[in-house]
Symmetry: C2
Subunit: 335 residues, 2 copies
């Protein structure tokens, strides 16, 4: 597969993106096109030459003179900066020169670029961003996580169809369990939106377990969590905030009770699995589902490992021709 990587996207670009590309090229037979200012990127690549012999790797550079910042207005930036690393990466996919594009940059701008250059799949009402979240027994994906704040039941229905296929093809789960985020397990519990969405989703050919509650997400009750983007975004950020709070309170406890320091050398062993579990760099980016081409959006704080994993996810989505599968499923259900 050929993956276009926005080399200038993210807080740690281009260092993390270029190193991520190197790691991805070493670990696979994918070709990586690094998109960004040619001189800067080749200099960055050279840093890894001694260690990895980068000239032997299947990495190309596509020149792009502009950069879209993390805080720029998404649609405006994409419209105005046609030669930005993000726009050029998206164009490579639109022109059939790459099979997927990956960006760790401005999420809204990545969405805008995908919509502008790749367009929506026919019949898809709203593309959705689907993010991974750690659970007790693995990982689940949540769709939507912020692309759509006011949803109709038909939108949630399509999110379920698309996220189910992503989970199957890219995460390799044979029959993903799909749940609708609500406030009680009974089909009669929910708000106007979820009650109607429930009826639609249960008619589709999915492994739909029905409504799930907030606590069922970390409990790993389902593989795919469906909700509108307003709730998805709040839930994800709230989760981050809680983990941060618990860490802060534990640190405070350690600071105030020096006797507890004696536990530290041994505590590490118990905590290393937890650390790995909640390490977003293992997840490899969030797909934008419903555009006509593969687009993966990574966390702005991504390090090289996260970039590599995002490239691998994008390659898997392209290999399994996820876009065609989504097209067929959307056409079949014909909403």
């Amino acid at each position: 597969m050929i993956i276009a990587l926005d080399a200038m996207g993210g807080d740690n670009a281009p260092e993390a993106t270029v190193e991520g590309a190197v790691l991805a090229a070493i670990g696979s037979n994918h070709k990586i096109i690094l998109v960004g200012p040619e001189k800067l990127i080749s200099q960055e690549l050279l840093k890894h030459h001694k260690r990895y012999n980068v000239t032997s790797l299947d990495i190309e550079i596509a020149n792009a003179t502009e950069v879209i910042g993390m805080d720029e207005h998404p649609a405006k930036a994409v419209r105005q900066k046609k030669d930005s690393s993000l726009s050029v990466a998206a164009k490579l996919v639109a022109d059939g020169k790459a099979d997927a594009f990956v960006s760790m940059g401005n999420t809204g701008a990545a969405m805008a670029a995908a919509l502008f250059y790749l367009k929506r799949i026919d019949g898809v009402l709203r593309p959705a961003i689907s993010t991974s979240f750690p659970t007790v027994n693995g990982t689940c994906i949540i769709a939507d996580m912020g692309a759509n704040v006011d949803c109709k039941p038909e939108h949630l229905f399509q999110f379920a169809i698309m996220a189910n296929l992503f989970c199957k093809r890219v995460m390799g789960i044979v029959k993903p369990k799909v749940g609708l985020l609500s406030i009680g397990e009974e089909p009669t519990k929910g708000n106007e939106l979820t009650l109607k969405a429930f009826d639609l989703i249960q008619k589709a050919n999915l492994n739909f377990v029905g409504n799930i509650e907030g606590r069922d997400i970390p409990r790993g009750k389902v593989d795919v969590v469906i909700c509108d983007g307003f709730i998805g975004n709040i839930v994800l950020k709230f989760g981050e905030g809680i983990a941060e709070m618990m860490l802060k309170l534990v640190k405070k406890g350690f600071k105030e009770h020096p006797i507890s320091w004696a536990s530290l050398p041994f505590l590490w062993f118990a905590l290393k699995d937890l650390k790995k579990k909640v390490d977003y760099s293992e997840f490899g980016g969030a797909p934008l589902l419903g555009v006509d081409g593969v687009c993966l959006i990574g966390h702005g704080r991504s390090d090289a490992k996260a970039v590599k994993n995002a490239v691998f996810s994008a390659a898997r989505a392209a290999e399994h021709d996820l876009t065609t599968e989504i097209k067929e499923a959307i056409a079949k259900y014909g909403i």
Copy 2:
């Protein structure tokens, strides 16, 4: 103050409720009316006699022959079981024989009983349940947490007015910071509901800090979080689920790496503050705001300490005449 306590409500009733009443009576000058089957309650009270000399305490029993179970249909149960401990407790307030009632039982039934016997305050569109949540620097309250799943902007506006007063009078915060739960801090971020609610809330005489994001809740950015009950319920249960997940993963880590056991004797010191922080029994119940009388609903798993704290919260709300304050504020803003 005279507090009617549903002695039969909750998973640990009547043991926890009766012991909680004893602790509350010892620790204050409030009179507690234990509502439930007279014989059962007096037997339960006698268990504490040796230790606390209960006959000297200001505790009374009001007989009620029926009990509403945790899983009964709320409105139906309240309508049919007029002599249930919950209904009789609510009636005591309606008849002016108690200043507030407290139940650890079926949340929906407690709401139904409050609405049936106390009625809504004139002008209140929807009563809201407001729950406490731990933050890095203390506690915040979230309103609504599940009473209202489909809200209008005016509902959120009234939740803000009512929760602000509860926070002021019962939690003792002079100028509570009020935030609207959304997906970005800018006033232009949000869904249809929150965008309109933002405009209403900012016109009121509140210390309104504007939109907050999910992560701002545990960060303690505000004292009062406003959202519809669908999101409030999902967020609260999700928070429970995450704490549970982290605990499980840490336990698993300890189990798999016996060397980490060496940390345990010292670890306790660092964790005891965290434990206290997330201990719901400190919070003392969730007020039902907007009914014409004070009603506090506690966690079904409440122990005696949680019952005592709920009784104290109810007493504070009654002492400060929260109901009259809410009446005046609602009349003033006249929605």
